[in-house]
Amino acid sequence: MLTLLKMWLKAGRLTQNALEWSNSANAVKIERKQFLSLPFDERKALAQSLLIRHLDVGSNNAEEAELVALSSPCYDISRFGIDFTASPRHADALAITGPVTRHLKIAMERTYHATPKPCLVIAIGDGACYGEPYENTYACLGAVDQFLPVDVYIPGDPPSPREILSGLLECKRLLGQKTLS
């Protein structure tokens, strides 16, 4: 507590770094120099905010847990200008998890129509990307891209918060391009 308060007074924000294990192959890092060397459009896109509406269409709760972890102080996704919104009407992107189930297909399509265009559709996890390892049954309809145009795939079982974060930064670039075109 006291350490945190001290850190807070010093740094001005309440963020703790998560303990990091040695494999940082997919670590999300944007160095200042690297950032400045990017073309203007891309810099502009990265500097803009990205508001996401999360949409569970049949996942097994693991992807949700990782999305919640992204907002925790260890990853603190809002320092990248990324945040989760309560309504699809405020969203730039839909983050969809899980294979589409029969009972959620209509809700998914309605949420997509309620999202202002151009919007991105992000499929998170193997269920949303490929419908795996599930199979099609009377209640399970399979991957998201059969029903909606998916822009970004973030596969994994579930993808780690770092992988999701790097995927979301990629989304910022894409959204920049989409808005320009």
């Binding site: 569970d56 709760n61 907002s71 925790s72 989760f84 009972h103 049954t137 009377y138 209640a139 780690s160």
Partner: protein, 533 residues
């Protein structure tokens, strides 16, 4: 393989069953010293079940009810735990394919209601005198002709728009608040309906099963390693409990003995999962109670547990480690020692956090008395896990039906008598402390040796097998029946959240206001994916 049942029990249980059932006891089977199966006729099924359930001296706990379709008939399996004898009792009856009826259990065993409705939806077996409202399949599914869990069902039913119907009291000043299925936060889908006057909640009901994928149907005809993968996918947060329960079912059926090191590692990882789950729950409770700082700290502890998991198993949710016969890979003692350092650090910080939380009056004011559920209601609805222990119901499968290391390692069951969100939170806090110290004991006494035995023998077909685990949210049951060539004939999962959902509905309808809704919900913090499957 019928062994004389007096071996199981010094007289009393078997004698009283035989006396009560008389000519209705068609057949019996004793699988292992603590698993007893009895067959009865359809007419006596309900009455016999009620008799066993209400025998005070048996201390019966309802576990699950399931149906299977065989060539000539349907069969119902009711699984009860007789805590007094530490015995699992399966009561079975056949249901005729032409009448498809039996007398409902739920008037006498209220905990069975959801299972009866589920069986009615998926198999079309009618519980006479029971609730026939649809549960698993939504309103747009054509009633009375298409039963997806029957063997030869392969049609695809077109999706129609059909609004849900809720029975809500009408009147001046009353209105309904609808929430979901797409929620405002990062939560799983479910439709919740409040009937309120001003802020006061009169009635509450929920439509679930939005993420119903028919996982049990996917498993049919698959070899069991493939079904193990599916079992891990039932739920993300308690993936290890699910895979362990599934493996235990097969290991019980095949009589596989697991090496002691694997048993210990399984127990350690199960406690790690409990830590992660409880810390997530605590974080959610603090967040719903408007205590952002405590919520962020709990989320931070949880992340450290998940990173430790990743370090140990290379998977944050412990998937892909369990296999029938033990574990797929060993975890070095060094890795465990390192994990122990992290855990003692977390333990220290958790103590500070706990002191802060329990001395913040504004937060305690939110949780105390919120979402009350009485001891009687909790028992009647068959609640399990921290939700039950918060209403002083004495259940914990690690003690009541010990498996793995718990046959030797005692577990102290943490109970609180408040019945409110505060009590359920206190159970979790106490269990986090208990899990941390139990992991320390298990790691310090970790036996050496092999971590798995090779097993690929043909499993006996058409024999029921049960795997039972106390998952973070309560008792978890995997029931399994094999076909020839090690293919799965029927697989049934009963998760802890499945039993506790009716508790949420009951607790929300107590003396609560609408802003308490999320807090009551989070104090149970149930998993929708586990329920819907």
């Amino acid at each position: 393989m019928t062994i004389v049942p007096t071996q199981v029990e010094p007289g009393h249980l078997w004698e009283s069953l035989k006396h009560q059932f008389g000519a209705h006891l068609l057949r019996h089977d004793v699988r292992s010293p603590n698993q007893l199966m009895i067959w009865t006729d359809t007419a006596y099924f309900s009455e016999g079940a009620a008799w066993i359930y209400h025998q005070g001296s048996f201390e019966t706990q309802y576990l699950t009810l399931l149906a299977i379709e065989e060539e000539t008939h349907f069969s119902l399996y009711l699984i009860l735990l007789l805590k007094h004898y530490k015995t699992l009792l399966t009561l079975t009856c056949n249901v005729d394919k032409s009448t498809v009826r039996y007398r409902a259990l739920s008037p006498n065993i209220p905990a069975a209601e959801w299972h009866e409705r589920e069986i009615h939806d998926l198999f079309g077996i009618i519980p006479e005198g029971g609730n026939l409202q649809p549960l698993v399949l939504h309103r747009d599914w054509p009633r009375g002709e298409h039963f997806p869990m029957r063997r030869h069902f392969s049609e695809s039913i077109p999706i129609r728009e059909a609004p849900h119907r809720f029975e809500m009291p009408a009147g001046a000043g009353r209105h309904q608040v609808a929430v979901g299925p797409i929620h405002a936060g990062i939560i799983e889908p479910g439709h919740l309906r409040f009937c309120v006057t001003g802020e006061q909640i009169h009635r509450f009901d929920a439509q679930l099963f939005y993420t119903h994928k028919g996982i049990e149907k996917m498993a049919e005809g698959k070899p069991y390693p493939a079904v193990l993968t599916l079992a891990e996918q039932v739920c993300g947060l308690c993936a290890f409990s699910h895979s362990l329960a599934f493996c235990q079912a097969i290991e019980n059926l095949g009589g596989v003995n697991i090496p002691p090191r694997a048993l210990s590692i399984r127990a350690i990882l199960l406690e790690m999962e409990r830590l992660a789950s409880h810390l997530a729950d605590l974080s959610a409770i603090c967040s719903a109670g408007g205590f952002g700082f405590a919520s962020a700290r709990a989320a931070y502890f949880r992340e450290r547990i998940l990173q430790t998991n990743d370090h140990l198993v290379r998977h944050r949710f412990l998937r892909g480690l369990n296999q029938v016969g033990g574990l797929k890979q060993d975890i070095s003692n060094d890795a465990f020692r390192q994990a122990l350092e992290t855990l003692s650090d977390v333990q220290l910080q958790f103590a500070t956090w706990q002191a802060l939380l329990l001395s913040t009056d504004s937060f305690l004011d939110r949780v105390e008395g919120t979402g009350f559920i009485s001891h009687e209601d909790a028992g009647r609805l068959g609640l399990v896990g921290p939700a039950a222990r918060g209403s002083e119901v004495d259940v914990d499968l690690r003690r009541d039906f010990p498996y793995g290391v718990h046959t030797q390692l005692p577990v102290s069951v943490k109970r609180f008598d408040g019945g409110d969100a505060h009590a359920r939170m206190s159970v979790r806090i106490a269990e986090v402390d208990a899990s941390l110290s139990q992991i320390q004991i298990l790691i310090s006494e970790l036996p050496s040796g092999s971590i798995s035995v090779f097993y690929d023998a043909e499993l006996p077909p058409r024999q029921p097998a049960v795997g039972i685990v106390e998952s973070p949210k309560g008792s978890l049951i995997h029931w399994l029946m094999m076909e020839n060539h090690n293919q799965v004939f029927r697989w049934h999962v009963r998760s802890a959240s499945y039993m506790n959902w009716r508790g949420v509905v009951q607790a929300t309808m107590g003396n609560n206001i609408v802003p308490d809704g999320p807090l009551v919900n989070k104090s149970f913090n149930l998993c929708y994916a586990c329920v819907d499957r």
